[in-house]
Amino acid sequence: MNSYLSIVPKYLSAHKKGSRLAIISVAISVALVTGIFSMLDALLKFEKMQVIHDYGNFHIAIENASEEEMRLIRSRVDVRNAGLWMDFGKALINGKECELGALDQNFAPNMNIELTRGKYPAERNELMLEQWAVEDLGLEVNDKVKISIGNGSKEFVISGVYTDFGSTKAAGIPGVLLSVSGAKEFSDAGKSYYLVLFRDGVKIMKAEAEIKKELNIQDDRVTHNDRLLAVTGQSANKAAVGIYQTGAILFCMVLIAGIMMIYNTFNISVMERVRQFGLLRCIGASRSQIMKMVKREGLLITAKAVPIGVIAGILLTFVCSAILK
């Protein structure tokens, strides 16, 4: 024995039951906190996937961007991907109602558009159609179709087929995508949006303000993918606040329960030893030395309990994720 603090490990090993109880209660609290945070993280990731699936993977959209604006935005270092999306609204394909649009090929994956057959429309007279619509209308790749919008109409060649889109399929109105160059030539009735996806870690609100200022873009020309911004915590929007609130409430509950559990086990074990502390005071221990002993005891218990708790929390998360999936 070299220091009076050696009493602490000796005490802990002499009172195995009490020490084990303290370690278990600390480990449980740690496991709960770890579990809740991991679950919350998983939930946010899932929500993000869902939002990208439903609304597309872009952060902001700039209405009617000029060639110059698009070039400048695309060349920014904090922009990961950007592409033009044109929406013509309702049109007719071979006399049947359809949703007509156009999208840059490089941005198609971001909008969950995947080619299943053929090739992406590039020429001015090419277009692609949804899988179900091709079957429904009895068409095939390389068939010619007539698209009319307003008074104008033109013949196009089906160059490719892409995966079904839930909303259009449910409505029974096929989605038709032209090439961007073809679309521009075909009609000027459509609205165009330049969709921008920033890199990870970019402060989007700030980057957006920068773009607006540099290019002198008015506020009403910029729209946001609010849901995506919300789940990534990049917006003042309230959509994801619910998740954070749930997390905060759960965290507080677990925190309070954990504190009470740890406090009580520790308090009981200290209270039981008031006599012994008094005895140590008699043989010369100062108040601060007793405090040091109690702190050391807490430290030893924590050192054992925290790794156990963290591992248990991770396992708990895996089990919960497996069940929820």
Binding site: M1, S3, K10, Y11, H15, C282, G284, A285
Partner: protein, 227 residues
């Protein structure tokens, strides 16, 4: 040289109707190397007196000078350092730390004082008190007499100015009691310690150099033992 001087020491417990004057104007002094026994009936204030001398309790009035220092003007922190360097306690209930073995219990006061235990002195103490073979035993593996001898060794380990013993033989049979008293007296003489001991046993009081009688909180000198 006076190691201990008390001046008009008073202690009152409670107030109003429940007021108890446990100690009234106790004034006496103890010289270095003396063996003083305190006798008196139960509830007379002996333990109160000892607790005040050992700074385990604070007096209502009066002073205690230990080694020339007024112990009640010291701050809490200072006092605990002073206590571990100058006062050794021996209790009726032994009060060894149950998780530590005999040797560890004996060196504990030194460790609390951040001193390195002097191995030869500790070995000597263990031999003198007949605990050499029991040094690695835990308190509950020892007899009452052995436990009390370990407690005495612990009180001697830090070489304090004064040793206070509160009925050290109270829990022991007559043979063990005699052994313990003899060992205490011997070690006090050998290491030139000062010892103040409370006892109920008139016979043991006769081992002392001086006997103080406490009755109803009043301390009186009974004169020397039958040395």
């Amino acid at each position: 040289m006076k190691v201990l001087i008390t001046e008009n020491l008073c202690k009152t417990y409670g107030a109003g109707e429940t007021k108890v004057e446990a100690l009234k104007n106790a004034s006496f002094s103890v010289s270095k190397g003396e063996f003083v026994a305190i006798v008196g009936p139960s509830g007379s204030g002996k333990s109160t007196l000892l607790n005040l001398i050992g700074a385990l309790d604070t007096p209502t009035a009066g002073k205690v000078l230990l080694d020339g220092k007024d112990i009640f003007t010291m701050k809490e922190k200072e006092l605990s350092v002073f206590r571990r360097q100058n006062i050794g306690f021996v209790f009726q209930a032994y009060n060894l730390v149950p998780e530590l073995n005999v040797e560890e219990n004996i060196v504990l006061p030194l460790l609390l004082d951040y001193r390195k235990p002097e191995k030869s002195y500790i070995d000597e103490l263990l031999n003198v008190l007949g605990l050499a073979e029991r040094r690695h035993h835990l308190p509950h593996q020892l007899s009452g007499g052995q436990q009390q001898r370990a407690a005495i060794a612990r009180a001697l380990a830090a070489r304090p100015a004064i040793i206070l013993a509160d009925e050290p033989t109270g829990n022991l049979d007559s043979k063990n009691s005699r052994d313990v008293i003899n060992l205490m007296k011997m070690s006090v003489e050998k290491y030139k310690q000062t010892l103040i001991m409370i006892t109920h046993n008139e016979n043991f009081a006769s081992f002392a150099d001086r006997v103080l009688n406490v009755e109803d909180g009043v301390v009186t000198e009974l004169g020397g033992g039958q040395r």
